[in-house]
C-alpha cells in the first residue's frame, strides 16, 4: 500500500486551496463589473423614467418631458423583421449542416458563419447601405432588419446545428421505423426536440441585435416621429442612446441612461420569458438534454 506522508497531504490541501482561491477571484472579477455597470445604469437612468417616457415622442432640445415611443416601436420593427428573415434561414441552414456533416455545403456554411460573426457590425451596416439603401434612395426599417438578420444568422445557424446534433439518433430511427417520412421526422420530432436549445440561440441573437447602434446609422437611420411603415426610417433604442449620449445637453444624457436601462430591462424580460417557455416545455414535453 502506498503511504502518503502528512506533509504531502498538507501540501496537497494547500495547493488545492490556493487554486480554488484563484478560481473564485476570477469569478468575482467577471461578476463585479457586470453588477457595477447595471447598478450604474439603474442609478443614472431610473430618475428619468416615468410612464410618459414610454408613450411620448422625443421633445426638441430644451423642452422638458418627452419619451422614446418612436425608438421602442422602431427597435421592435427592426429586430422583428430581422428575426422574420433570420429564423427560417438560420434554422434551415443549421438543420442542413447538422444532418449533412461531411457535405461540402455544410462545411462552407460553418465557415461563413464563423467569418460573418467576426465581421464588425458597422461593416455590415455599410454593406446594407450599399445594397439596399442606395438603390432604394432612402433609409428604412427594412434595411435595418436585413442588417440585424445578418448579425443574428451566425448565432442562429451554429446553435441550431449544435442543438440538432445533440438530438439522439435513436429518435430519428424511432420515427422512421413507424413509417414517417424524413421531412415529417425532422419537423415533428427532431426540431421540437431541439427547440429549447434553438430558443436559447434566438434569445442570444436578439440580445446582440437589439443592442446594435452602428449599423443602424446606415440603415434605420433614426426618426423623431412615430413610424410604422417598414419602408421609412425608424428610430431604434441603441441609436437613440448614441444620439442622446453624444449631445452636449445634460437632460439628454439623462435620457440616454434611461434608454439604456429600458434596453437592458427589455432584453432581460425577454430572457426570463424564454426561460419560462423552456421550463414549461421541460415539464410537459420532457427533454433529452
Amino acid at each position: 500500500m502506498i503511504q502518503t506522508t502528512p506533509i504531502r497531504q498538507q501540501r496537497r490541501k494547500l495547493i488545492n486551496l490556493i487554486m480554488l482561491g484563484f478560481c473564485m477571484l476570477a469569478t468575482l472579477l467577471v461578476i463585479a463589473p457586470l453588477i457595477w455597470i447595471i447598478a450604474y445604469v439603474i442609478q443614472q437612468g431610473l430618475p428619468a423614467i416615468n410612464w410618459s417616457f414610454f408613450t411620448q415622442l422625443p421633445t426638441p432640445v430644451g423642452v422638458p418631458g418627452g419619451g422614446i415611443a418612436n425608438a421602442l416601436v422602431g427597435s421592435a420593427m427592426t429586430v422583428g423583421l430581422g428575426l422574420l428573415f433570420a429564423i427560417p434561414i438560420g434554422t434551415l441552414a443549421g438543420f442542413y449542416a447538422a444532418t449533412h456533416p461531411d457535405n461540402g455545403l455544410g462545411v462552407a456554411l460553418r465557415f461563413s458563419a464563423d467569418v460573418i460573426s467576426g465581421v464588425p457590425s458597422i461593416v455590415m451596416g455599410i454593406f446594407a447601405y450599399t445594397i439596399i439603401v442606395l438603390p432604394q434612395r432612402h433609409f428604412s426599417a427594412f434595411s435595418g432588419g436585413v442588417v440585424l438578420a445578418f448579425i443574428m444568422l451566425p448565432t442562429l445557424t451554429r446553435t441550431t446545428e449544435e442543438m440538432i446534433r445533440m438530438v439522439p439518433k435513436s429518435l430519428r430511427e424511432g420515427s422512421l421505423a413507424l413509417g414517417a417520412a424524413e421531412w415529417k421526422t425532422s419537423l415533428s420530432i427532431i426540431l421540437p426536440a431541439a427547440f429549447n436549445g434553438i430558443l436559447t440561440g434566438v434569445m442570444l441573437a436578439i440580445a446582440r441585435a437589439a443592442g446594435e447602434a452602428a449599423p443602424m446609422l446606415f440603415t434605420a437611420f433614426g426618426n423623431p416621429f412615430l413610424n410604422l411603415d417598414y419602408r421609412q426610417p425608424v428610430a431604434t433604442l441603441p441609436h437613440t442612446i448614441f444620439v442622446y449620449a453624444i449631445a452636449p445637453y445634460e437632460d439628454w444624457h439623462a435620457k440616454a441612461w434611461a434608454t439604456a436601462l429600458v434596453l437592458i430591462s427589455l432584453v432581460l424580460l425577454l430572457n426570463i420569458f424564454a426561460r419560462l417557455i423552456t421550463w414549461w416545455r421541460v415539464r410537459h414535453i420532457g427533454t433529452y438534454h
Binding site: 439522439p168 435513436s170 429518435l171 430519428r172 430511427e173 424511432g174 420515427s175 422512421l176 421505423a177 413507424l178 413509417g179 414517417a180 417520412a181 415529417k184 415533428s188 420530432i189 421540437p192 426536440a193 415539464r283 410537459h284 414535453i285 420532457g286 427533454t287 433529452y288
Partner: protein
C-alpha cells in the same frame, strides 16, 4: 449438458403454436455490407406467422444487422449495402420501386434502448396513427387506449396521458415504445434486445407481453439472454461468425426452439446455448 433451468422452461412451455406454419417473411441469400466490410453473409431464414422467432448468437455476429435488414433500417446507415432478398408475404422488399415507408408501417420495430419521443404519452402513441391520417379525437383516444392496454401499460398511465413519455421508468418507457409500435397495427414486430436495459420484473412484463402479442402479430426478437430465448420463442436462429478469413456472421442453425436448446445439431450451437462458448 443443458442447464436445468432451461430444460424446465422448455418442458413447462405450452405448445401454443398452430401446427400448419404460414410463412410471413423469408430471408434469402442475404448479405449486408458496411462499406467494404461484410457484416452478414448468405443468411437464409424463414419467419413464421403468429410466432416468435428468436435470433441468438455472440456479440458482433450481426444479429442487429440482420434484424434491421428486415424493415430496411440499414438504408439509413451511410455506406450500408444489401445483397440477396427479403420477402414479406411473398413480395420482395429489396426492389427498386418498393415503398419503404409502407414496409416500415407493416413491420414495426422496438429498439434496444427505449426511445420515446419528447412528447406526451398520448402523443407518443398517437404519432403513428396520425401519420396514417387519423385525426379524429375519438378515434385516436380509442387507438391510444387499445394500444396501451395491449402493451400492459394502460393501468399505470391512464391518469397521466398528458405527461411526458420521458417521465416514465425505463420499463414503462419500453412498453410505451411497444404501444407506439402496435398503434399502427403492423403485421410484424422486430425487437432488438428489448429488455436488455430493464430489471428482471420489467423484463418479465415484456416477455409476458410478447406471449400475448404473438396471437395477433409475428415477432422477431434478438436476445443475448438464453433463458429468455428459451422461455418466449417458438423458433430460434443461431448466428455465429464464420471461421473464414473474412469474419462475417451467418445463421448456422435454425429450428424449433425446443430442438435448438435440447437437441442442437451443430456443435457450436450446443456450446453456445449451454454457456460453454468462449
Amino acid at each position: 449438458m443443458l442447464m436445468t433451468s432451461q430444460v424446465s422452461f422448455l418442458i413447462n412451455k405450452k405448445h401454443e403454436k398452430n401446427d400448419e406454419k404460414t410463412l410471413k417473411m423469408k430471408i434469402e441469400n442475404l448479405s449486408v455490407y458496411y462499406r467494404n466490410f461484410r457484416a452478414i453473409e448468405m443468411v437464409n431464414l424463414p419467419i413464421y406467422a403468429q410466432s416468435i422467432t428468436a435470433i441468438i448468437g455472440p456479440s458482433g455476429c450481426g444479429k442487429s444487422t440482420l434484424l434491421r435488414a428486415l424493415n430496411r433500417m440499414n438504408d439509413l446507415v451511410p455506406g450500408a449495402r444489401t445483397e440477396g432478398q427479403v420477402f414479406l408475404d411473398g413480395m420482395p422488399i429489396y426492389v427498386p420501386n418498393v415503398d419503404v415507408v409502407e414496409i416500415r408501417r407493416r413491420i414495426g420495430m422496438v429498439f434496444q434502448r427505449p426511445n420515446p419521443f419528447p412528447k406526451s404519452i398520448y402523443d407518443n402513441v398517437a404519432y403513428g396513427p396520425r401519420l396514417l391520417g387519423i385525426h379524429s379525437r375519438a378515434k385516436l383516444d380509442e387507438i391510444v387506449e387499445r394500444s396501451l392496454l395491449a402493451a400492459a401499460l394502460w393501468d399505470e398511465v391512464n391518469d397521466k396521458l398528458d405527461q411526458s413519455g420521458l417521465s416514465l421508468s425505463g420499463g414503462q418507457q419500453q412498453r410505451l415504445c411497444i404501444a407506439r409500435a402496435i398503434a399502427i397495427q403492423p403485421e410484424v414486430i422486430l425487437m432488438d434486445e428489448p429488455a436488455s436495459a430493464l430489471d428482471p420484473i420489467a423484463t418479465l412484463k415484456i416477455e409476458e407481453l410478447m406471449g400475448a402479442l404473438k396471437k395477433a402479430y409475428t415477432i422477431v426478437i434478438v436476445t443475448h439472454n438464453m433463458q429468455q430465448a428459451a422461455r418466449v420463442s417458438d423458433y430460434t436462429a443461431m448466428m455465429m461468425l464464420s471461421d473464414q478469413a473474412e469474419r462475417s456472421g451467418t445463421v448456422i442453425e435454425f429450428g424449433e426452439t425446443e430442438q435448438i436448446f435440447l437437441n442442437p445439431k451443430d456443435k457450436r450451437t450446443e456450446d453456445y446455448v449451454t454457456g460453454r462458448f468462449g
